[in-house]
Amino acid sequence: MEKQFPIKKIIDDQGNLIDSQYEGEIDQELVQQLYYHMLRIRLFDRKAISLQRQGRIGTYPPFEGQEASQVGSVLALGNDDWVFPTYRDHGATLTFGADMMRTFLYWNGRSEGVIPPEGKNIFPAAVPIATQIPHAVGTAWAEKRKDTSNVAIAYFGDGATSEGDFHEGLNFASVFQTPTILFNQNNQYAISVPVEKQMHSETIAQKGLAYDIPSVRIDGNDCFAVYFETKKAVERARNGEGPTLIEAVTWRTGAHTTADDPTKYRPDGQGENVINPVERLEHYMKHHDFWDEAWVTKIENELTNEVEAAVEAMEQYPKPNPEDLFDHVFQNNPKQLEEQKHAYLEHLGRV
């Protein structure tokens, strides 16, 4: 199966172009866009870890190592498409337009953090594994029924492929030929369980075969491979050709979450040779004359300021309101819930 689903790459680990058919398609704008967003989300991710360490936000699941998979895939979407992320996909959602201050808020235990900007179709991060996959299929189905050309992308990990919702989602996508991109980030581990213990199959891509869903296996650390393969899947979906399964082979550089200790289960030195996708793009830019030191310094400063401003805004955000516990459960609260609310506010001395 590994032969049937070879890992597609456009640049190698050292940033050399190895698939010349893309030479004409990679221009300054695309390169800078990819680099800008990968750097931006990396700064966000590192900041989130440090905030957690200082007790300024709660447990946080870092995505370092997966920048190319997230940015490359989401940049292949259009503004009206739908994104169904997991808890680890803030790189994708931030690049698609989620608000950074709110993303920090989410990890500070605030519901306000999941609200997307006006006009952006970003579903809240799915915490129960694989549950978002059928949602993305259903939303794509709705777009198909409405005769639009919009698509939905579902992000999920290697561990998610073991849940029923993965298989049920794929089958529905296949039966109803929905415009869905099933985007797997195979980061090699589901918490402590390595992918070879998660499944006996050699690849995740091959799981699409059973559902007759076109499937491809790509180097998830090669932002170009991710971008161009996702773009193909998006085009197929827009043209009414149904779903695609993409297995992006990548690597979770850090811990599963800030509460996890990977030295408990990872062999010493594993992953040491993986070149981070941001550095890999940097190599490519240097080899191919896209590197502009002044531009890089400028965006580094801008992005650092953006992240700092988002943290500041998060910390100055109004305190949580106990009324919010009750006020959004139904459109019109039943009387008994209103009574519970009233009794509690009275207890707090607020009414």
Binding site: G113, G159, A190, I191, K264, Q336
Partner: protein, 338 residues
């Protein structure tokens, strides 16, 4: 310690353990004493569980007995049913109670009724362990307290200890029980206290609660992580001169009706504390036990202090959802001064 309901074998010495260590010790004791015991779960092997409840057990007992399963709760519970009907004693871990829901179908449509529908020909001696509850600033879904869903299921026992000593004795009893048990572990209490726990094997009777404090004015009923909350409130109430009796139910199905009745008949007042949502919560069953057994003894309406009828909120609001000592105290006062 309720000596009456306790059976001990080879218990000589004790060690000071936290609840999560006591759980580990119970699992180890059963893996040692019964070759058919198997542990199944996500990240329970090499990683020793996300709370370290299974720390060191795979190393000691091997990958065939302490199994890192694929990420699939329905798969874990469904295959455990198959293992259980064919000679094994599976102890399945749900990483958090909020992730038990994919296994709901297996629990409701099979685990609950295999014995009944086969007239005892097949049975499912299965334990499903699940850390539960809010109050540790965990991400969403990690904080559910879903006991009432399972007490409502027929054919399944539900156990919920509040101390290290009880956790070990009840977990061993659950593993030895011939029927399925959902074993809820209050994660907020996992490391909150250390207690002397006997080494080796001992069991506590499932279905027996415990009077943890005697009193005459009001009975305060709680379990799991709400027990310390109730106790804090009781301390304050006693400073105001109210004499409180505190019950730790320990088993949520079947309820210890005798203990509840005996206590409420003495005090004439009851305050029930649970963190799960109010409607359909276990508090309502306890009220009906009191109604059925002790109606004429009541001197005040029964009070309930519970979570609200809302999804467990993200953690910034969880302290508002959880019963607090202050809310419990207010209910004690209301009952006593009725």
């Amino acid at each position: 310690m309720d000596v009456k309901t306790e059976t001990k074998t080879q218990v000589n010495t004790t060690q000071k353990l936290t609840m999560v260590q006591a759980v580990n010790d119970a699992l180890k004791t059963m893996l040692e004493s019964d070759k058919t015991t198997m542990l199944l779960g996500e990240d329970i092997g090499k990683n020793g569980g996300v709370f370290r409840a299974t720390e060191g057990l795979q190393e000691q007992f091997g990958e065939d007995r302490v199994v890192d399963t694929p990420l699939s709760e329905s798969g874990i519970v469904g295959t455990s049913v198959g293992l259980a009907v064919n000679g094994f004693k599976p102890v399945a871990e749900m990483q958090f109670m909020g992730f038990i829901y994919p296994a709901f179908d297996q629990l409701m449509t099979h685990v609950s009724r295999i014995r009944a529908k086969t007239m005892g020909h097949y049975s499912v001696p299965l334990v499903v362990r699940a850390p539960y509850g809010a109050g540790i600033r965990a991400p969403e879904i990690h904080s559910d307290s879903a006991e009432a869903i399972f007490t409502h299921m027929p054919g399944i026992k539900v156990v919920c200890p509040s101390t290290p000593y009880d956790a070990k004795g009840l977990l061993i009893a659950s593993i030895e029980d011939p029927d399925p048990v959902i074993f809820m572990e209050p994660m907020r209490s996992y490391r909150a206290q250390r207690e002397e726990v006997p080494e080796g094997k001992y069991t506590l009777e499932i279905g027996k609660g415990k009077r943890v404090q005697e009193g005459t004015d009001v009975t305060v009923i709680a379990w799991g992580a709400m027990l310390p909350v109730a106790q804090q409130a009781v301390k304050q109430a006693e400073q105001q001169g109210m004499s409180c009796e505190v019950l730790d139910l320990k088993t949520l199905y079947p309820l210890d009706r005798d203990l509840i009745a005996e206590s409420v008949q003495k005090t004439g007042r009851a305050v029930i504390v649970h963190e799960a949502q109010s409607t359909g919560g276990l508090g309502q069953d306890i009220m009906s036990v009191i109604h059925d057994t002790s109606f004429l003894y009541l001197r005040a309406p029964i009070e309930r202090v519970t979570g609200f009828d809302v999804p467990v909120p993200f953690f910034a609001l969880e302290d508002h959802h959880l019963p607090t000592p202050k809310r419990v105290l207010a209910s004690i006062e209301k009952a006593v001064h009725f």
